[in-house]
Amino acid sequence: MNLLKSREAILALAILGLLALIASRFPGFVAPANLAAVFTDSSPLILLALGQMAVILTKCIDLSVAANLALCGMVAALMNGAGIPLPLILIAVIALGAALGAFNGMLVWTLGIPSIVVTLGTMTIYRGVIFLLTGGAWINAHQMSPAFKAFPRTVIAGLPVMAWIAIAIIAAVALLMMRTPLGRAFYAVGGNPHAAVYTGISVGRTQFAAFVLAGALAGLTGYLWVARYAVAYVDIAGGFELDVVAACVIGGIAIAGGAGTVAGCVMGALFLGIIKNALPVVGISPFWQMAISGAAILIAIAFNAQSQRAPGRIILKRAEHRT
C-alpha cells in the first residue's frame, strides 16, 4: 500500500514539475482558467482510461475503446439527425457502448480468446460498422442541432458540463473500485486468478463486467467527443486507444493486472493531457510531442518494473523453500 501511495505521490510531483517547467516558459499556461480548460480537454482520455483501468486490472486489455467511441458518437449524431431528444440519445449511447463492451467480454469469457486478439478484431469491426451506417459520409456541425452541440460546453459553476461529467465518473469509479464487491473482484482476479476461483469469484464474469464498464464509458465519451468537436466520421479518435493504455501505464496500473488506483489512473491521463496541450504552446514540434509522450510511457514502465522487483525475489525464495 505504501508503495502504491508513494507512486501516486511521485506522479503528482511529476505533474507539478511539468507544470512548473511549462510555466517558466509560458506563465499563462498555469492560470486557473487555462488549467480548467486542460482538464476539460483531457476529460475524454480520463473517462476512457478509467474504463481501461478496470479491464487492465483483470489482466485484459481493450483496444477497441476508441472504435467503440467513434461508433457510439456516430450513432449519437445520426439519432440527433433523426430528431431524437438528447436524454434518450445519452441513454442509447451508453447502452450501445456497454453492449459493444459486452460483446468483447463474451468472447473473452466464453471462448477464452485472449483479450488483445478479441479487441484487435472488434476494433476493426466497430469502425467498419460506422462505414456501413454512413457509407463513409461525414456528419458536420451544421447537421447537428444546437442543443446537441451545446450540452458538453454548457458552463455550470465555472466548469463545462464535460468536466463535471468527468469529475462525477471519477468519483463513481473510485466508489466502485474501493467500496463494492465488484471492484474488489477486479483486483482479486488480476492479482491472483487461481485464488479468485477458489474464493468463488468467477474470473470470466468479472472480466466481462470490466469490458461492459469500459464499453459504457466509451459510449458516453462518444457522444461528448462528437458534440464537442461537432463532427462525426469513420476515423474520429483514431489511435486514441493507445493514448488510453498509455495513460493507465503512466498512472501505475500494472499491465499484469491486480494493482493500480483511480487516482493514479486520472493523474496518468492528466499527465498526457498536459503534455499534449502544453507542447504546442511552448512551441515544440508535433514530432517532439510524440517522442516526449513515448519517453514518459517508457519511464513509467521502467519505474513500475523497478518497484515490482523486490516482491519478486521474496516469492522466489518462498518457492525454493517449498521444494
Binding site: 492479482g191 491472483n192 468463488g200
Partner: protein, 507 residues
C-alpha cells in the same frame, strides 16, 4: 550377484540446503554397472533432489560425486550428460514438434562434411537404436503424435544415443498401462545386459522387487541404509522408510463425534479418481493420506466445485446435491484451504483484511456497498483467533511469512462460517511454531463441531491429528484405518499397495 564390481558412480556426504530446509543431509549412494538400484523413500525424503544433483541441475553444498572413482562435478546438465548420466523423467522432457529422430539426437546430431545436420545418418542411427530397444517407431514421426509409452521409449533411445552409463528412471511407470510396464521391464533387462547402471525410483514395491538388484533408503533427506534386494523384504523396507521418532506432541483433543456432516457417494472422474465414498462426521478430523499424485487433492477440488465429478453425489444434512461451482460449495458450507498458498490462496497486492473478507463480501456489504468497518471487524476477529503476526491488517499479504499467509487463508475460510473445512497439506513448508498453531486450531475447530478433512503427506501429522484415516492410492480409496490400526506401517503399506496385512497393529 556380481556385488564385487566397483561402482560407476558414487555419492558421498551430499548436503543440499534450501532456505529453511535441509533437503539432503549427508547422503550417500552407489550405482553399479549392470545393476538396478532402487531408491526408496517417503514423500519429501529427498529423492527428486538427488536426481537433480545427479543431472547437474542442482549443485550440492557439500560432498563429492565420483565417476569411476574419480571425483567430478556436474556444473551443468551438459556436463552430467557428457559424464554419461542421463535421466528419464516422470514427465519426459522432449519436444513435441520435432520428429522422433530429432528428439533422440538433439544437441548431438550427426553432421555431414559441410557441418550441417546429416538427416539420413540421423534417421538410420535412430532406427538402429530404436530397434535395439525393441521399439517399433518411425523416426520421422513427430513426437506429438505418439502416446506416453512411446515417448518414454524415445527418451530411453535418447539416453542410449549419448552412450549413457548411468540411467536414472524417476517413476517411469507412473503413466503406463500394464502391458507397457511389462515392456519397460524387458527394456530395463536389456539395459542391464549392456552394462548400464540404473537408478530406479519408484513408490511401487512390486516393481522394485521385480526388477531391482539393490536398494537404498532415504528418509527426511538422510541416508538410512542400502543393501541387496535378495537380502531384504517389504516389511524391513517399510520400517526403514517410516521409522522416525515422533518428536512432536500433537494437540489432538478427543472430540465428540456427531452426526454425519457430509456423505460422499460414488464420486468418479474420468481420469483422476474413481468410486470415492466416505462419510464425514461433525467434530471429526478425517485424515487423507497417500503418495503425491494419489488423487487426494483432486477429490477435494471436486468436492469444492472446482472440477465436476462425472458420477456420484454428496449429501449434507438432508439434501443430496452435486456441487457445481465454488460459490455453491461456499453456500453449502464447504470450504477448501488449498495446498499451494501462493497460487491458490492469497491475492498479493490486496491487504490482509481484504484477503480475509474476499469470500464473505455478501455479509460485509450493505445495499451493494462494502463497509470497511465490518470488514475490519471480521478480519480482526478471525486473524486474532489464529494468532496472526502482522504489523497491521492493512499490510500487503505478500509481505507475510508462509506460516502467516496460511493463517490468512484459513481465517478467510473460517469467516464464511463453514460446516465442513478441507485443509490440503495445511502445514507444508511452514515453520514449527506456525505448525503448532495450525494444529491447535484444527483441534479447536473439531471440538466446536466442525467437520474437518485434512489431506497430509506427513505421517506423524496424519496419525497425530486424525480420528480416522483414509488412504488413497492411484485415484481410489485403498484402505481406511481407525484407532489402533492407525500405524505408520499400515498407512505406507496401503499407500504403496502392498497387499496382505501381516500383524499391522505393531507400531
Amino acid at each position: 550377484m556380481q556385488a564385487q564390481t566397483s561402482p560407476v558412480l558414487s555419492l558421498r556426504g551430499i548436503v543440499k540446503t534450501f532456505p529453511g530446509v535441509r533437503a539432503l543431509d549427508g547422503v550417500q549412494m552407489d550405482l553399479y554397472p549392470g545393476q538396478v538400484t532402487a531408491l526408496v523413500g517417503e514423500n519429501g525424503a529427498g529423492k527428486s533432489t538427488i536426481v537433480k544433483i545427479l543431472t547437474g541441475i542442482y549443485q550440492p553444498d557439500e560432498g563429492k560425486i565420483e565417476v569411476d572413482g574419480v571425483e567430478t562435478r556436474f556444473p551443468t546438465a551438459q556436463a552430467a550428460g557428457q559424464a554419461g548420466v542421463t535421466a528419464i523423467h516422470q514427465e519426459t522432457v522432449l519436444f513435441d514438434e520435432l520428429s522422433v529422430a530429432e528428439n533422440i539426437f538433439i544437441g548431438h546430431a550427426p553432421r555431414n562434411r559441410f557441418g550441417l545436420i546429416d538427416r539420413r545418418a540421423m534417421r538410420t542411427r535412430a532406427r538402429e537404436i530404436l530397434r535395439g530397444i525393441g521399439a517399433d517407431l518411425n523416426p520421422g514421426v513427430k513426437l506429438r503424435d505418439l502416446g506416453i509409452a512411446s515417448k518414454h521409449l524415445v527418451a530411453i533411445a535418447r539416453a542410449l544415443s549419448i552412450d549413457a552409463r548411468v540411467v536414472i528412471m524417476d517413476e517411469p511407470t507412473a503413466a503406463l498401462s500394464h502391458k507397457e510396464i511389462a515392456e519397460l521391464y524387458e527394456l530395463v533387462e536389456k539395459l542391464k545386459a549392456q552394462g548400464k547402471a540404473i537408478l530406479f525410483i519408484s513408490h511401487k514395491f512390486d516393481e522394485i522387487f521385480r526388477i531391482a538388484d539393490r536398494w537404498t533408503v532415504f528418509r527426511d533427506g538422510q541416508f538410512v541404509g542400502e543393501g541387496l534386494m535378495a537380502e531384504t523384504n517389504e516389511a524391513d523396507l517399510v520400517r526403514m522408510m517410516v521409522g522416525r521418532s515422533v518428536d512432536q506432541i500433537y494437540p489432538k483433543r478427543p472430540a465428540r463425534i456427531g452426526k454425519p456432516a457430509l456423505t460422499v457417494a460414488g464420486y468418479c472422474h474420468p481420469t483422476e479418481f474413481d468410486e470415492i465414498s466416505f462419510t464425514l462426521h461433525e467434530g471429526e478430523i478425517l485424515g487423507f493420506y497417500g503418495l503425491v499424485g494419489a488423487g487426494r487433492s483432486e477429490v477435494m477440488q471436486s468436492l469444492f466445485g472446482i472440477t465436476q465429478p462425472s458420477k456420484g453425489a454428496c449429501r449434507m444434512g438432508g439434501d443430496v446435491r452435486v456441487i457445481r461451482s465454488t460459490s455453491q460449495a461456499v453456500d453449502a458450507g464447504i470450504v477448501y484451504v488449498p495446498e499451494d498458498r501462493g497460487r491458490q490462496g492469497t491475492v498479493k497486492g490486496l491487504p490482509i483484511f481484504q484477503n480475509v473478507t474476499l469470500p464473505s463480501l455478501d455479509r460485509t456489504s450493505r445495499a451493494g456497498f462494502l463497509r470497511m468497518a465490518e470488514e475490519f471487524a471480521l478480519a480482526r476477529e478471525y486473524t486474532r483467533r489464529l494468532d496472526l503476526r502482522a504489523a497491521s491488517l492493512d499490510q500487503d499479504v505478500g509481505l507475510l511469512s508462509g506460516g502467516n499467509q496460511q493463517k490468512v487463508v484459513i481465517a478467510k475460510w473460517l469467516a464464511t462460517k463453514p460446516r465442513v473445512i478441507i485443509l490440503d497439506e495445511p502445514t507444508k513448508g511452514i515453520d514449527i511454531g506456525s505448525k503448532a498453531t495450525v494444529h491447535d486450531f484444527m483441534s479447536e475447530l473439531a471440538a466446536e463441531g466442525l467437520a474437518v478433512i485434512m489431506v497430509s503427506s506427513e505421517i506423524p501429522e496424519v496419525l497425530g491429528m486424525s480420528d480416522r484415516v483414509i488412504v488413497m492410492r492411484e485415484g481410489r480409496i485403498a484402505a481406511e484405518f481407525e484407532g489402533d490400526a492407525m500405524t505408520p506401517e499400515n498407512l505406507v503399506r496401503a499407500a504403496v499397495g502392498i497387499t496382505g496385512s501381516e500383524n499391522g497393529a505393531a507400531a
